[in-house]
């Protein structure tokens, strides 16, 4: 083998070895441990009442957060790319904030606003509205952490598509809204789809912020990720692995979604 070939293969081995040792083998071990006792045991573990409730709660939260963030994302992308308004640079910087903030800090911040002793605490208690330790709190935390994805994915697509189609629509008589619905939205749909996939994965996988705001009331405010931790703390290792495997499968489905939508996104 030539020296060039040797070094190329050498680099490949190091790269793949690192990835295997860090990513693949650990995930593989979890799947192995989960299914070594058979499919039945796995199934039983993820269909306990607590698990089923956790799954539904997780999906419910995602179902609320993702569409809201999608609407925000499209609006923000529009403002950044097409808007002739001041404040674009500020908006651009603010959108990135959730990426850089620790999830625990996110949870704390919500506690300090909506908690019993928080800014809105007294008002909420007075009106009998429970945010922290309840669904609304979990939703708010999830919205916070998954906020930037759709905006960040749609903005470049919007920029690339350009304004000409919208201008053509205007010359043909379309109002601003008509132009948006019939021309702009369809042209960015794959950017939105990709952002939604990322946002959903983030929403389902959120742990730190939800840890703080949910109260971890079993069967009520446990999301799937919290269930994993709970089972681990209760020495139900098999149960923790099972729930993890389920989440890992969802994650892999996300990767498939990203690959499928990702290629559509680049063909405008």
């Amino acid at each position: 083998m030539s020296a060039e070939r040797r070094s190329r293969v050498g680099l490949r081995v190091v790269a793949l070895g690192y990835l295997a040792g860090l990513l693949l083998i650990p995930v593989g071990v979890v799947f192995y441990r989960t299914f070594e006792k058979g499919l039945g045991a796995f199934w039983a573990s993820i269909t306990t009442p607590a698990a089923v409730h956790a799954l539904f709660l997780t999906l419910e939260v995602a179902l609320i957060s993702v569409p809201l963030n999608a609407v925000f994302g499209v609006a923000a992308a529009w403002a950044l790319v097409r808007g002739r308004v001041p404040g674009k640079r500020l908006l651009d910087a603010l959108i990135d904030l959730p990426f850089a903030i620790s999830p625990v800090v996110v949870g704390l911040s919500l506690l300090l606003v909506y908690g019993r002793t928080g800014w809105l605490g007294p008002w909420l208690t007075e009106h009998g509205i429970q945010v922290i330790f309840s669904l609304p709190g979990i939703v708010l935390a999830t919205i916070f952490v998954s906020m930037p994805f759709v905006a960040r994915e749609v903005a470049p697509v919007l920029a690339e598509v350009g304004e000409e189609q919208e201008q053509a629509a205007a010359t043909l008589g379309a109002s601003a809204w008509q132009s948006f619905w019939r021309v702009t939205l369809p042209s960015i749909r794959w950017g939105i789809a990709y952002g939604v996939v990322l946002s959903t994965a983030r929403a389902i996988g959120e742990f730190g912020a939800v840890s703080v705001v949910s109260g971890k009331i079993s069967g009520e405010t446990d999301t799937l990720t919290l269930l994993v931790e709970k089972r681990f703390q209760n020495f139900d290792l098999a149960g923790a692995y099972a729930a993890s495997a389920l989440l890992a499968m969802i994650a892999l489905a996300t990767l498939v979604g990203m690959t499928a939508v990702g290629s559509r996104r680049s063909e405008s």
Binding site: A168, A170, L172, G173, R189
Partner: protein, 316 residues
């Protein structure tokens, strides 16, 4: 009719239009011609309502349209890069304006069919723009603009993105289309040949100002200044004047009042022949002869010819 009255437009420090006034007569094709940066595209977009002028008025079909959005001006606009709605079929593209106006479905389909036939794209109704050639996409764009029966048709360098041979075909096609459907049309182009071939009237722009307005022949034969003359055709310099190489007559015999010159180079340009010469005082000049004239004269490098300076011309 379109009237532009004292329109000015600046982008930051750059003056795109400087007190421009002109008229585009009804049913005629007016070309806005000029080099890049002359303001012609900006002017078209101001007429369309895609840009708002800093001062001046635009009158479309008798009423002041200056503050109207593009939707309300009754215009059709064709973009250089087609601006096709990529996610819609041809049929849906052409139908767009009609659907916006909530026309009944049967009417829409009939009109779309009519237009696709007019532009020679029947049978392509279910294709997507990405499946069409550039020329086909531009014809679709025209059909789409005409679907809403605009009182004015505006074309922004419509053939600029196409290959040279397709350009030629589409130019001829557009001329025939205009004769068949004589909508008041304003066409922006940087190609003087295109303007000469298509326009009833040419407005030549330079640095945001109108250099000259007139019929193509008028601009070619009676240019207002050296810029107009050089832009619209080939020029030769002769004694501080610009003349047309075609107007320089050559003879192999000395004639009364004609000058002597030595041929430096003879270039065969296919249908024409360019004869590059140097005069007695060292000045270079070229003349352009037809093949027939060249065959009669048989000029050769190094031979002496006599040339007659043309009477017309513009000071350089």
């Amino acid at each position: 009719m379109i009237a532009v009255e004292h329109v000015s437009k600046r982008f930051g420090d750059f003056t795109a239009l400087d007190d421009v006034s002109l008229e585009a007569p009804d049913g005629k094709l007016t070309a806005l011609l000029g080099p890049s940066g002359s303001g012609k595209s900006t002017l078209l977009r101001v007429i369309a309502g895609l840009e708002v002028p800093d001062s001046g008025t635009i009158v479309v079909s008798g009423s002041d349209a200056t503050r109207l959005p593009p939707q309300k001006r009754g215009i059709g606009f064709v973009f250089q890069h087609y601006a096709a709605f990529k996610h819609m079929t041809l049929h849906e593209n052409v139908a767009f304006g009609l659907k916006i106006r909530k026309r009944p479905k049967a009417d829409v389909n009939a009109k779309v069919g009519e237009l696709l036939h007019l532009v020679g794209l029947d049978g392509f109704a279910d294709r997507y723009p990405s499946q069409l050639s550039g020329g086909q996409r531009q014809r679709m764009a025209l059909a789409r603009a005409l679907a809403v029966e605009p009182s004015v048709l505006l074309l922004d360098e419509p053939f600029g993105a196409l290959d040279a041979n397709v350009r030629g075909d589409l130019r001829a096609w557009l001329r025939r289309l205009h004769e068949e459907v004589p909508v008041t049309t304003v066409l922006v182009t940087h190609d003087q040949e295109e303007a000469m071939e298509l326009a009833d009237r040419i407005v030549l722009l330079r640095d945001g100002k109108v250099a000259q307005v007139g019929a193509p022949r008028e601009l070619y034969e009676q240019p207002a200044d050296s810029f107009v003359m050089s832009f619209l055709g080939p020029v030769s310099k002769l004694d501080g004047r610009l003349v047309r190489p075609h107007d320089v007559a050559l003879s192999d015999r000395p004639e009364d009042g004609w000058e002597e010159a030595m041929v430096q180079r003879v270039v065969h340009l296919g249908f024409e022949v360019r004869v590059e010469m140097v005069r007695g005082d060292g000045d270079e000049i070229s003349a352009q002869l037809t093949r027939a004239e060249a065959e009669a004269l048989e000029p050769e490098a190094g031979s002496i010819v006599w040339l007659r300076p043309p009477a017309s011309g513009v000071s350089a």
